[in-house]
Amino acid sequence: MTGGHHRILVVEDDPETAGQLADSLASNGYQVDVAANGSEALSRGIAGGYAVITIDRMLPDIDGIAVMRRLRDGGVAAPMLIISALGEVDDRVRGLRAGGDDYLVKPFSFVELLARVEALGRRSDTVVKETVLRVGDLAMDLVSRTASRGGKDIWLLPREFQLLEYLVRNEGRIVSRAMLLQHVWDLHFDPTTNIIEVYVGRVRRKVDGQQAYPLIHTVRGIGYCLRAPR
């Protein structure tokens, strides 16, 4: 992995938020540059070399969406995470259509932000087209849509398979509940009850039940992480 893959451009006009973002990303091993307005974001972004760019939707000079569009027009391929106080679906769709890769509504937890940045950063790595995913003794056959642990088949519903696949693809990274809802169910609403926990619980029983070690771990207050013991 080159150094460029650990550099992140944070475009945020509020100095305190920008500082918090930079600190929490830096403490997770990223090199962070901050741009406080749209024009600075453009000059830094075009110069290139960022693994992920996070863009605040409302900037003092140029609208965040316009910044994103100009960066894309300028040939910037880095994944972009839109951060906005406007959470409505129309707004989200507009942001994603303009070239954004993910959308995070303010206020958010830094763990959620980290999880999203991690997931986006991985996308800019070379994606290997595999047909079988493996973590520890778990194997997922993406063609026959079957999963097994230690050679023993695990029976999963289609949605459960999708959920496990998403966790496996993000092996070792934290996946938030909102990310699951978004990527597994394609939903952008806020369920007041613990439906995701219950759903993951069911998958976990099927995957981790009566096994030597657990694969799916709960990360308190944010979501889950699938990893094999070292």
Binding site: G87, E88, V89, D90, V105, P107, S109, R159, W185, L187, H188, F189, D190, P191, T192, T193, N194, I195, V198, Y199, G201, R202, R220, G221
Partner: protein, 457 residues
């Protein structure tokens, strides 16, 4: 005050324009009547004089000056010709016959002439005579005329009548328009007074009705209804802000207390950790309330009608049931889906999903633990309808309207998780879609039905 308002009101100005136009037309018509009547009467009199004149001329040709004089004397003596004036004079203007004392000095030329003569008796004052002067071949002059005093006074009377009726029409119309305008201005003024009172004091004032069921009463009625609605909305807003204040204040107070206590206490890694965690959880709850409120507000502001399309309700219901399947299983609830194979409605798929998800969530949460929840999408009489049935405690009939209010929570569910905003969101989505929601008794339990509108084919 009222008079000034009357005179400056647009109704009055319009009335003036109408009176002016109408008056001009009426004056024109009456003038025409006057002119044609008087010229007709005058023409008749002139024709009579002319024919008498030619009769006498013919008599002169036939029987000569003496015969003519005799004929004139005979005419004068005859009562039938009493209003006629005759005078035959010789070239030296000495009267030969007739009922005029002397040749009137003003008459010199032949043809039509008008003059006054001294009265023949005391009965009248200088009668006006219209006459025709003819010169006879022998140099005599013949004057044949008529007393047109009556005619003249007739014309004057007509003129007077015309004038009086114009004046009468104008003054009646003027008075009428002032009265009508005054009435209009008065009603508007009472509406204005109420409006000002409302602006000054509060929404409890209403515009008085006169009970006349006229258009003014209808306007006042509608304005009053509008005021009722505004007052209701205001009290709802107040209720909501009270509830928001309460629901936000509770966790905020908790957080503040916790932080304050921690601030004064010794640092202790483990305690601090859990304190911060709890505080973040409380903050998240507060933020979630905010998010729900703004979302409801956005839906209610009709900002999303652009996203309307044909929605497959079977698919939406399927997605919801699949999402809540695990939660139901954990609860021991049996969640089933049924209904027709193809049910289409017009709407926003994301919002319909949210609404149905909320209703299913409620059914699982508030239904009987280990009970049944059945979700069905079907077409009833051409109308797409989604129903969610549970067999829990249900909602008392008198509380069914209340549950859609923001932050409303039933007594027995006060401590269940949730913020009392779910059904408000459902209600907002239902309103945006022009749909209808019904809560029925499932005996036991609750049956919620949402009636959408079918796509037009």
């Amino acid at each position: 005050m009222l008079l000034a308002k009357t005179l400056t009101s647009s109704t009055f100005k319009l009335a003036l324009i109408a009176i002016g136009t109408f008056g001009l037309i009426v004056s024109g018509i009456l003038s025409y009547v006057y002119l044609s009547t008087s010229s007709y009467v005058r023409g008749r009199s002139d024709r009579a004089i002319k024919s008498e004149c030619s009769d006498l001329l013919a008599a002169n040709d036939r029987i000569g000056r003496d015969g003519l004089a005799a004929l004139i004397k005979q005419r004068v003596a005859d009562g039938n010709w009493a209003d006629h004036v005759y005078l035959l004079v010789d070239p030296s203007l000495a009267p030969l016959a007739g009922n005029l004392q002397a040749w009137p000095s003003t008459v010199t030329t032949e043809g039509w002439t008008e003059f006054r003569v001294p009265p023949s008796s005391a009965r009248m004052d200088q009668p006006l005579i219209r006459a025709m002067l003819e010169r006879l071949p022998n140099g005599d002059r013949l004057l044949v005329g008529r007393d047109i005093g009556d005619l003249d006074s007739f014309a004057r009377q007509i003129k007077m009548a015309v004038f009086l009726s114009v004046v009468l029409i104008f003054s009646l119309a003027g008075v009428a328009s002032i009265l009508i305008t005054r009435r209009t201005v008065g009603r508007i003024e009472s509406i204005n007074t109420t409006s000002r009172a409302i602006m000054l004091s509060g929404l409890d004032k209403r515009i008085p009705l006169r009970g006349s069921r006229d258009e003014w009463d209808r306007v006042a009625e509608n304005l009053n209804l509008m005021l009722d609605r505004i007052e209701m909305l205001m009290s709802e807003v107040k209720q909501v802000s009270d509830n928001v204040a309460h629901d936000l204040r509770t966790p905020l107070t908790r957080m503040r207390g916790r932080l304050e206590k921690a601030y004064h206490a010794q640092r202790n890694g483990e305690i601090d950790q859990s304190l911060i965690g709890d505080t973040i959880a409380d903050l998240d709850a507060v933020l979630r309330i905010f998010a729900s409120l703004t979302r409801i507000a956005q839906i209610e502001a009709h900002t999303r009608k652009g996203a309307f399309c044909t929605v497959d309700l079977v698919e939406v219901v399927g997605k919801v049931v699949e999402l809540y399947d695990a939660a139901a299983e954990q609860d021991g609830t049996c969640l089933t889906v049924a209904g027709d194979r193809a049910v289409f409605a017009v709407g926003d798929p994301d919002l319909i999903f949210d609404a149905i998800a909320n209703l299913v969530d409620n059914a699982i949460k508030h239904g009987r633990a280990g009970g049944d929840v059945a979700v069905a999408s079907e077409v009833v009489d051409g109308t797409p309808v989604i129903s969610i049935d549970d067999d829990g405690p249900g909602i008392p009939a008198d509380e069914r309207g209340q549950v859609f209010k923001r932050f409303y929570r039933l007594e027995h569910s006060r401590y269940a998780p949730g913020n009392g905003l779910g059904l408000s969101l459902v209600a907002a989505v239902v309103r945006l879609h022009g749909a209808r929601i019904e809560m029925l008794d499932n005996s036991p339990g609750l049956k919620v039905q949402v009636w959408f509108s079918a796509p037009t084919t």
